[in-house]
């Protein structure tokens, strides 16, 4: 996401506050705020210092390599505190981030703007006076989640290309193994994709969905059916290319989407609704039965949205956050008991008792998550 689109994200009134909170504008000429030099090469990421006092932290990121790069500061759980993108070779771009709490953070340069990047720990000391008001916190939450979405789509584009290549190369077993992995990145952010009405049906439509006349059954589930039931068809390679094209279309369009904190909270809830109505029933991946991968990804996506809003939640309702932590942990602990290798057992291996336990855990989580939107707007 470009810096410019981040501003577009924000509703009027909030935008101005955010600009003072995380901004690429030149920093005020205050010695304490002297920017930390970052030299971002193709294989290195050197910071002049790896420690700063809590409050407003400034970086000056210089691309010393040959690839376009990005620089990130992550909080716990890869919550994006701030980032600057699209730094061409030889250019220097500023990044100003508000970090009110001390602790260990992570910096990352991303030469080529892909992958996890070149990471290192970054220590923030002390605690800053919380000067930012609610609107700024909400704006930061929305911006932080936007960055999460961007990072997931990046990974989705890369991983799905592997899946597409396997399909096109006729490597059925490889494609089957990659199918749930590619979907993981998709399922984490599906509510965002659903906000574009036409993309979700193309990427994730099911065979029995109602379609406009002349609109074909395409996307993940068409390829799933080919791989698991019908065998690869003459048009399977074209279907695979179309899937990747639709995902790239999504990536382009997400750059301009505006997410409000309420949409963010509702997205967290919708992901759990997806689990309750699609994954727990085994309907989503009816040919491959890899529903638990999607289940896990939906929960992770929901948790990311809630994590972005967490500072606001904690301020408005100190009890909701711990409840959310406990319920998310319970769902994840339950899912871990269905691990098989790096993935999960198939839906068809679950007993009715297993499904009931999952439904209970998702119901238990869904109620407090449904309170988030009201809490952050209270």
């Amino acid at each position: 996401m470009s810096r410019r689109s981040a501003a577009v994200l924000l509703t009027t009134g909030v935008a101005a506050v955010l600009a003072g909170c995380t901004s690429t504008a030149p920093p005020a000429s205050d010695a304490a705020n002297a920017p930390i030099e970052v030299r971002a090469g193709d294989t290195s990421c050197e910071l002049a210092k790896a420690e700063a006092p809590a409050g407003t932290i400034s970086f000056a990121v210089t691309n010393t390599g040959s690839k376009v790069t990005e620089f990130y500061l992550y909080g716990t759980g890869d919550r994006i505190m701030g980032e600057v993108e699209n730094i061409g070779p030889g250019l220097t771009r500023p990044l100003i981030v508000e970090v009110p709490d001390g602790g260990t953070y992570t910096t990352a340069c991303k030469p080529g703007m892909a992958g996890d990047g070149i990471r290192a720990p970054f220590t923030v000391t002390g605690t800053a006076t919380r000067s930012v008001d609610d609107n700024a916190k909400l704006a930061e939450a929305a911006a932080g989640y936007q960055r999460y979405v961007t990072s997931q789509i990046e990974a989705l584009v890369a991983k799905n290309q592997e899946f597409v290549d396997a399909v096109k190369g006729g490597q059925v077993e490889q494609a089957k193994a990659l199918f749930p992995i590619s979907r993981t990145y998709w399922e984490r952010i599906e509510p965002v994709a659903e906000s574009f009405g036409d993309i979700d049906p193309k990427i994730d439509g099911r065979e029995d969905d109602e379609r406009e006349p002349g609109v074909a059954f395409t996307g993940y589930h068409r390829l799933e059916k080919d791989l698991w039931v019908d065998g690869l068809q003459a048009d399977s390679p074209a279907m695979a290319d179309q899937l990747q094209a639709d995902i790239l279309d999504l990536q382009n369009r997400v750059r301009t989407v505006e997410l409000t904190p309420v949409q963010l909270a509702n997205g967290a809830k919708e992901l759990l609704d997806e689990v309750a109505t699609g994954k727990i029933t085994g309907e989503e991946d009816r040919y491959s039965h890899t529903d638990l991968y999607d289940f896990k990804a939906n929960v992770e996506g929901s948790q990311a949205a809630v994590a972005a809003l967490r500072p606001v939640i904690d301020e408005k309702d100190p009890q909701l956050g711990p409840t959310l932590d406990q319920r998310f942990a319970a769902v994840e602990a339950l899912l871990e008991t269905y691990r098989a290798g790096d993935g999960f057992v198939l839906y068809t291996q679950l007993t009715p008792e297993d499904v009931k336990k999952m439904a209970d855990a998702v119901d238990a989580l869904g109620e407090p998550v449904s309170q988030v939107a009201g809490t952050v707007t209270a």
Partner: protein, 437 residues
């Protein structure tokens, strides 16, 4: 819903919806009190405002505005004149943490007391809150009257081990033995907790259960649930005897609210019967009894009456003229055979045949759609309140299951026993005596 809900500031009682006539004076004052009571004081304040009934809750059951007192020596919904509609739910506790269960019981009690008074679960809960948040009250009872709603709370045997409360488990709260012909479905049986919602309006009963279930997510999970659309017994002499789906009057000789000595003997747990927290309570036995009504309907009137032991029209014991005439089990006909057959239902179930055993019945007719084979999935959701299931329900059901010809038309598909504690005093909550014990 999180644990820290507090009532919204805007007064919006359920009964104050535009379509509802303005309630009478005493109710207004109660409503005002709800309006000012914060969550912390509501437990105590509401109890006082609702007019804590020191005596039996039955006495105030037919209150003018359809509000049955929630608090009293006994839980409402036992000897309260049986309302027309039922929604019963059995729940399992999904946490090993007694403190979490205790918190839920406190929240349940607050919401239950409000709903029985014809109010939303919280002040302004349905539409008076933050529009970005899901409403705290689900709203389908807006504009409906209190409708004599009673919410009766019970505890299953399985709860005690789950929460480390074994020492407080009453001996009388034991699983029922297997009976001949049982076809029990585990998914319709048992449960750690139960809530019996009875009301004149089915939507009011469903609303109550739905909202309590919702509050429980994360602490409880629905194990099974049963709707009943018509009462099959009367629990007060002021009520007429209703009919079950066999078309017969049912529960003519039921124990009644107007027989306090009999209730103490057969229904209310007495001090010394078991742990102190159950004294003044009662054991609820639930049986989902599927009736093969299509087969029954092909049975001649004469055979139907012989099987039951009563006439179908009047409901009189065979050989007598009126419903409430005493059955003469020794009478013989011209052929020398007993007028009331030796295996007639009313003989087998009578106190005379069972050494004086009586029960308080409070069951409901149900139709749960179809069985997929062209028949109605219909029957009687049997509920009985007894002082001791082992000495009352068990011998009765044993006699019926082995001898009653009616069993050819019946199938017991669900079963559960719950300990329903005594009524709530001001400020106390469901199950508090057990948790404090």
């Amino acid at each position: 819903m999180s644990d820290q809900d507090t009532p919204q500031a805007t007064p919006n009682p359920r009964t104050a919806a535009p379509s509802d006539p303005e309630p009478s004076g005493p109710r207004l004052s109660r409503r005002r009190l709800f309006g000012v009571a914060g969550a912390g004081v509501a437990l105590a304040g509401v109890g006082a405002a609702a007019g804590y009934a020191a005596g039996s809750s039955a006495g105030s059951a037919a209150a003018r505005d359809g509000v049955v007192a929630f608090r009293g020596d006994r839980q409402a919904g036992i000897i309260t004149p049986a309302q027309g509609r039922l929604h019963f739910v059995a729940l399992d506790v999904t946490t090993p943490d007694p403190a979490a269960v205790r918190r839920l019981l406190q929240r349940w009690t607050l919401a239950a007391e409000r709903m029985t008074a014809g109010l939303e679960t919280t002040e302004g809960g349905a539409v008076g809150g933050n529009v970005q948040a899901p409403p705290a009250d689900t709203g389908e009872a807006l504009g409906l009257a209190a409708s004599s709603l009673t919410l009766t709370f019970g505890i299953g045997a399985s709860l005690f081990a789950k929460l480390g409360l074994d020492a407080q488990r009453p001996a009388a709260l034991a699983d029922l033995p297997a009976f001949t012909g049982d076809k029990l479905d585990p998914a319709r049986s048992g449960g750690d907790l139960c809530i019996q919602a009875c009301a004149d309006d089915p939507q009011v009963a469903v609303h109550a259960v739905r909202n309590l279930v919702r509050m429980g997510f994360g602490t409880t999970s629905v194990r099974w649930s049963q709707l009943g659309f018509g009462r099959t017994s009367s629990t007060s002499t002021a009520q007429t005897t209703p009919r079950n789906l066999f078309g017969f009057k049912d529960g003519t000789n039921n124990l009644k609210a107007e027989e306090p000595a009999e209730l103490d003997r057969h229904v209310w747990v007495q001090p010394g019967d078991g742990p102190d927290w159950m004294a003044g309570g009662s054991y609820l036995v639930a049986r989902r009894i599927r009736m093969h009504i299509e087969i029954w309907d092909r049975t001649s009137l004469s055979e139907q009456e012989i099987i039951v032991g009563r006439t179908k029209g009047e409901g009189a014991p065979l050989g007598r003229a009126a419903e409430f005439d005493t059955a003469d089990f020794s009478a013989k006909g011209a052929d020398g055979e007993p007028v009331i057959a030796t295996e007639a239902h009313i003989r087998l179930a009578s106190a005379e045949s069972l050494g004086g055993v009586k029960i308080l019945r409070r069951g409901y007719n149900f139709v749960d759609g179809t069985d997929g084979q062209g028949h109605l999935d219909a029957g009687l959701f049997f509920i009985a309140f007894v002082r001791d299931p082992a000495t009352q329900f068990v011998p009765m059901q044993r006699a019926l299951s082995t001898k009653d010809v009616m069993m050819e038309y019946l199938e017991h598909t669900g079963s559960a026993v719950f300990a329903c504690p005594p009524g709530l005093g001001p400020g106390s909550y469901w199950g508090q005596a057990l948790f404090d014990a």
